[in-house]
Symmetry: C2
Subunit: 219 residues, 2 copies
């Protein structure tokens, strides 16, 4: 168990790496690995073994020298610190291309992000069934979010209307919002807002292919 | 202009922040801002002004004290370093939920990622039209990638077949691959492989709502 005060000091980039470890550990668990070394974890995520050991030292000294970390136990510990073990009620707003992809994304459910409600303003979509969920009218947003005890809202609407939607989401008392629109949204200080940038990894590839090609060739 | 040797030393986390700045600058440009301060850039991405100034010092001293950075010029400089100004020929493999969303994602094209080819193995999808692109048969993958001078391949196929597909992509001489499947793929040392983790931002929200709620409340 990690103390509350220790958790508050974890940096954003550490959280990001914990997400990466969690992803690798989930895959290793599926492949029936029982243990994993810091070297192997580092290699799979292009980090240094020292960085991995430092990150995982948060969880006390339960890695064994020569044997490595127990896969399932480490995964459980990371799930606990990331809050994935508790399960979250999620609502999705906007069921266009991206919204539809998110409803079908099985990883979300595996990690405890349960999409309970879907909203749209398009009369042709309202009432339709997406993976067992009936699309609700955006006009009932505030009351529906409250009544269904939604904790996290995913916003996948056009940039032009994203701020209006988010204002209503905030009014409903939601403290966690994930935004896919390419626009900077304003939320009160007590609301956590994250922007999903689908281009970021492609931009890294663009940088790498432009500048690092010969670096790689050397290795 | 930045020297080649300097570019090679830029860390992955700096590239990630350059992507964030690029995103904010694109939005500011759309909103007709002419200049932006390091403080404003920092606020919009939850970084410190010192970090922003340090990152942007790569570009020489063209920010003006009191006035800030010229939005369009800085955006252009970051595009240059990220290689976004040259335009990339991209192929997409797998046109399920995620693949379909990617084809419709306008940001890609704006940033010079031009989807030229789409592949699938489903006879019902082959020959169909997605945003003006006819879906090709995966059986012709290697020759089609070569003939169309594709530089980056996006893999949005089930985890169980992703490695086979990626092996063929590598055989075709592709050096940049973005993978959406939840599986660790092996590629030769001279190929850049990135894994898109759609859950990462939700995991951050989960962590924040679990551990940082009272920290935010204090601010």
């Amino acid at each position: 168990m990690i103390s509350e005060s220790k958790k508050k000091k974890i940096s954003e980039s550490t959280i990001r790496r914990l997400s990466l470890y969690y992803r690798v550990l989930s895959i290793l668990e599926k492949e029936n690995y029982e243990t994993v070394s810091s070297k192997e974890l580092a290699k799979r995520e292009k980090l240094t073994p020292a960085q991995v050991r430092k990150d995982l030292s948060f969880f006390g000294s339960f890695g064994t020298r020569g044997l490595g970390y127990p896969v399932s136990e480490l995964k459980k510990q990371i799930a606990e610190i990331l809050g994935l073990n508790r399960g979250w009620n999620v609502a999705l707003i906007g069921v266009g291309n991206i919204g539809s992809a998110l409803v079908g994304y099985k990883e979300f459910q595996r990690q405890g992000f349960n999409i309970k409600l879907i909203f749209d303003n398009d009369q042709r979509k309202i009432g339709s069934n997406h993976k067992g969920i009936i699309v609700s009218d955006i006009r009932n947003l505030e009351s529906d979010l409250k009544e269904n005890n939604i904790q996290i809202v995913v916003v996948a609407v056009p940039a032009t209307v994203a701020q209006y939607i988010v204002d209503d989401v905030v009014k409903a008392g939601i403290k966690g919002i994930l935004n896919f629109a390419s626009v900077n949204l304003k939320v009160p200080d007590d609301v956590f807002l994250r922007n999903e940038n689908m281009s970021m990894e492609l931009e890294y590839l663009s940088f790498a292919l432009s500048n690092l090609k010969d670096v790689k060739g050397e290795s």
